[in-house]
């Protein structure tokens, strides 16, 4: 189990943003970027050899020792295989259909049970905080996963600024509603705009991130520009994208996929290999770029940081 963040790892071990791309360029020069990115699919020995040499710095030890190492997915993979139904329901749709989306200028409305509600310009939202690097696993409910080097602001820090009242038990998020720029919103596949929510303790957990970039670049449109939620121990659909509203509320807010199929998608949506989804077994997953399935880890491998929040809860019922 690992996460990479400044507090945990000596700065000498953190890859500089520019190096991501230098390494990429090196690999392109070596002619193996694809095979390296795709990892296990590159079964010829030449690609394997270069892979080890090219990306040794990227390798992070896995916790259990039983699973293969976690290696960040390529920028290409992270930006071409997306679930972002506002831009279409196929995995390639968000990349193809998000070109006309304008993530700037951007305003986020903060409202509800807090002392500092208001409309915050994107820059004002970000400026007071230090942008941190967080490389997290992302586990989709559809039983595939990636490892993504995000940049962003811990949500806990942002929330502190808004001074929520004690009565605020939940945080509710809303995606922008722009059918003119988001063709998927013109069809009622889901109830628009997309809404999500977290319990206050989940929202203020150390791991929870408001991501504004990946691989040292601003968040691409298809990945939820300009600001999105990352909750690495939950299934990907909890990570609401292109957020325009953050509300502090006293009741559990509605969430889009739960509205769409309540027996399939719960409010908690914690990654849990023991509780199967009606459509997908959750015991294993396919890491994008790998040939064989991996075992799925409880809370996506972040149990030590989050399981205490759910002690005593029936996770089979609260799926």
């Amino acid at each position: 189990m690992w996460i990479r963040r400044p507090d945990d790892i000596p700065s000498s071990e953190i890859t500089d943003e520019k190096l991501y791309f230098n390494r990429r360029r090196f690999l392109v020069a070596a002619g193996v970027i694809g095979a390296t990115g795709v990892g296990l699919l590159g079964c010829n020995s030449e690609a394997e050899g270069s892979n080890a040499a090219g990306s040794a710095a990227d390798r992070v030890p896995a916790g259990s020792g039983q699973e293969p190492e976690d290696k960040p997915n390529t920028y290409e993979q992270i930006t071409s295989y997306n679930n972002f139904y506002e831009f279409g329901t196929d995995k390639e749709d968000p990349k193809e259909n998000s070109g006309g989306f304008h993530p700037q200028p951007w305003t986020v409305r903060v409202e509800g049970l807090c002392k500092r509600p208001g409309d915050y310009h994107f820059e004002d939202l970000i400026k007071p905080h230090k942008v941190v690097d967080r490389t997290y696993r992302l586990r989709c409910v559809e039983a595939w996963s990636m490892v993504i080097p995000w940049q962003g602001i811990p949500l806990a820090e942002m929330i502190k600024r808004f001074e929520p009242q004690p009565s605020a038990k939940f945080v509710a998020f809303t995606t922008v509603m722009r059918p003119s720029e988001m063709p998927g919103q013109r069809r009622p596949v889901l109830q628009w705009p997309y809404v999500e929510g977290l319990r206050m303790d989940e929202a203020t957990n150390d791991l929870t991130l408001m991501a504004t970039g990946l691989y040292g670049k601003p968040l691409p449109n298809q990945d939820g520009a300009p600001i999105r939620l990352i909750v690495p121990w939950k299934y990907g659909f909890k990570g609401i994208k292109s957020i325009v509203k953050i509300a502090f509320v006293d009741r559990q807010p509605e969430t889009t996929w739960n509205i769409a199929a309540p027996d399939e998608y719960g409010f908690y949506a914690n990654v849990n290999p023991e509780v199967d989804h009606p459509r997908w077994s959750q015991a294993s997953e396919r890491r994008i770029g790998e040939f064989r399935r991996r075992r799925t880890l409880m809370f996506n491998g972040y149990a030590d940081k989050v399981s205490s929040m759910y002690s005593g809860m029936d996770l089979r019922r609260n799926y």
């Binding site: 970027i33 990115g37 699919l41 071409s80 295989y81 139904y85 595939w144 009606p278 396919r286 399935r293």
Partner: protein
């Protein structure tokens, strides 16, 4: 020999095109074009082969209606080939799931079949396709006798429905395309049922088939069929 009959080898090669396209891209993924099948090539290959199975099934079932509507008797010669290509793509689809997706993990696959209804109905569809493929030879038709053979092969409509429901249940939310397939199969089945219970539908009256009911007026408004030439596919 009509032009249609002579074109059959060309059609055979065309039917292989999707498989060739997939093989070429799979080769690319493992060699010089890692993104040839997108970021999740295994999933992509499963969807691709599943969709082509349904498409070939629809094309197969369209042979008889098109033949009758347009009076293209020679089309009958294509039906068995297309049906077997449907089975071929179903086999590739299942092999992808067994050998690539689950890498022969029989225990896990057993669990998948029991736990997930879309996999159960997909598997059922494959099992139902088996007797149809096995009785596709001339010898099998002779052994069964034409009437029994025809009755057995009505199973193909069950396969069309279960296969499409497999697709419908597999998608997460956007059921637009599965419903299109369902509509197409319903129309094809509807055509046959109409013919069976009501009477022949013809766009070109001269090619109307000789049947007890063929004295009825056709939808095309023409007079009752008088052409009694045997069809190219006379058994």
């Amino acid at each position: 020999m009509s032009l249609l009959s002579r074109l059959k080898p060309v059609a055979f090669l065309l039917c292989l095109a999707p498989a060739a396209f997939l093989a070429w891209n799979f080769w690319g993924v493992t060699h010089d074009r890692p993104e040839a099948l997108g970021a999740n090539p295994i999933r992509e290959a499963e969807i691709f082969t599943g969709l082509w199975t349904l498409r070939f099934l629809a094309i197969t079932l369209a042979v008889t209606p098109v033949r009758e509507l347009l009076g293209l008797g020679a089309l009958a010669k294509y039906r068995r080939m297309l049906g077997l290509f449907t089975f071929f793509y179903a086999c590739v689809h299942l092999s992808m799931w067994v050998g690539v997706d689950w890498f022969f993990d029989w225990k896990a696959m057993g669990g998948e079949i029991v736990k997930h209804k879309y996999i159960l109905i997909g598997m059922t569809t494959f099992v139902l396709l088996l007797p149809l493929a096995l009785t596709s030879t001339n010898a099998a038709v002779r052994r069964l006798g034409g009437a029994r053979w025809a009755r057995l092969h009505r199973l193909v409509y069950v396969c069309a429905i279960t296969g499409t429901v497999h697709y419908l249940w597999a998608v997460k939310k956007d059921t637009f395309f599965p419903l299109i397939y369902l509509f197409v199969f319903a129309a094809l089945l509807g055509f046959r049922l109409w013919e069976h219970y009501v009477g022949p539908i013809r766009l070109r009256s001269r090619s109307a088939r000789r049947r007890p009911r063929s004295t009825r007026t056709t939808l095309a408004g023409g007079a009752a069929a008088t052409d009694t030439r045997p069809l190219g596919d006379a058994k």
